[in-house]
């Protein structure tokens, strides 16, 4: 019995070390899983919505081709704003962008966006710009639904609203395209962004 007790004491440092490391692993895992609740930056969405409103107003009453280039520029600006917002939020939450929830969200978000990019090139070459607003809203919505599948319910709900806006845009006259883009990328981003920021911490 004395020998057994001594053996336990000799083994102690390894045991403490492992248990401390196990605790830290548990904390990191819990934080990673919990962070997926707010993988989407709410205020970043509001900022993207504001740039979309500006783009929509700039593109209004211009030719369909000019409006196309305005919205392409807006896509670049929005991407930049969103990237900064995601980086800031991940830094604030002390979670690297390479963490599991971030990787998972990005991998699910990217394919519909890539499909949208390819369709944009094809439709631009075919001079079929009038259906682009519907296609953009539909595929962006699909990206938000798939990317937000592991997030809080409001994120995929926002994606569904974008998809609905896209479907309506496809069924409406081409002249309304710019207003659908303005309402979708502008007001939907702002509305849902505020809700996400308020309910899920920024």
């Amino acid at each position: 019995m004395a020998l057994a007790q001594q053996a336990r004491i000799l083994k102690e440092p390894v045991s403490i070390d492992r248990r401390a490391a196990d605790n830290l692993r548990f904390i990191r895992d819990t934080m990673e899983r919990a962070a997926s609740f707010t993988a989407v930056p709410g205020w970043g969405g509001v900022a993207v919505g504001c740039t979309a409103l500006a783009a929509g107003l700039t593109a209004a009453h211009r030719s369909i081709q000019q409006a196309f280039f305005v919205w392409m520029a807006e896509a670049g600006v929005a991407l930049l704003v969103a990237a900064v917002a995601v980086c800031r939020k991940s830094r604030r939450l002390a979670l690297p962008l390479g963490s599991q929830p971030s990787r998972r969200a990005l991998l699910s978000f990217a394919p519909p966006l890539l499909a949208g990019g390819m369709l944009t090139v094809v439709l631009f070459r075919l001079h079929e710009l009038s259906i682009l607003p519907g296609v953009w809203l539909l595929l962006y919505g699909a990206a938000v639904v798939t990317g937000g599948a592991f997030s809080v319910r409001i994120v995929p709900l926002m994606g569904l609203c974008f998809m609905l806006a896209g479907a309506l845009a496809l069924a409406s006259p081409a002249a309304w395209g710019n207003w659908f883009l303005l309402a979708g990328f502008g007001f939907l981003h702002i509305g849902f962004g505020v809700a996400i920021a308020r309910r899920h911490g920024g």
Binding site: Q5, R8, I9, E12, P13, S15, I16, D17, R19, A20, A21, N23, L24, F26, I27, T30, M31, R33, A34, A35, F37, T38, L93, A94, L95, H200, G201, G202
Partner: protein, 134 residues
């Protein structure tokens, strides 16, 4: 007869009472971590409470149901541990209604965040000390 390591339930006596008492021989193996660090925060050290605090550290707030789903626990278990954290003011709780459904929301307080950071420092210092001593 060695006791299983780290098996503690909500029925255990309050942690503060045992914080500074010397280790009982029977707890040599099960209580090594606690005994090595007499100032270890036992409120946070408990696994479920550690989970609650870790989850709240990366969220402004989480509802009772979100925490329950995340930590895969029961209503009763979560409620007991969350109340313990509330008692020491590491988390604050707000109750409201969403439609007709009651909604309980938890947030980490400044004291809770500091305690969590202190706990992380303890764990890291311990690992470091063990590596240097090896």
């Amino acid at each position: 007869m060695a006791r299983p390591a780290m098996v503690r339930t909500s029925a255990d006596p309050p942690e503060r009472k045992t914080r500074n008492t010397p280790a009982a021989p029977a707890r040599i193996e099960s209580g090594t971590l606690e005994n090595s660090l007499p100032h270890l925060d036992r409120i946070i050290h408990e696994r479920m409470r550690l989970g609650i605090v870790s989850a709240l550290a990366v969220n402004e707030s989480l509802t009772f149901n979100e925490l329950k789903k995340l930590l895969q626990t029961t209503d009763g278990n979560l409620s007991v541990h969350a109340r313990r954290l509330e008692e020491v003011r590491y988390v604050e709780c707000s109750k409201s209604f969403e439609g007709r459904m009651p909604k309980t929301e938890y947030r980490l307080t400044v004291a809770g965040r500091k305690a969590f950071e202190r706990y992380l420092d303890h764990m890291e210092a311990l690992i470091q000390a063990m590596r240097e001593g090896a």
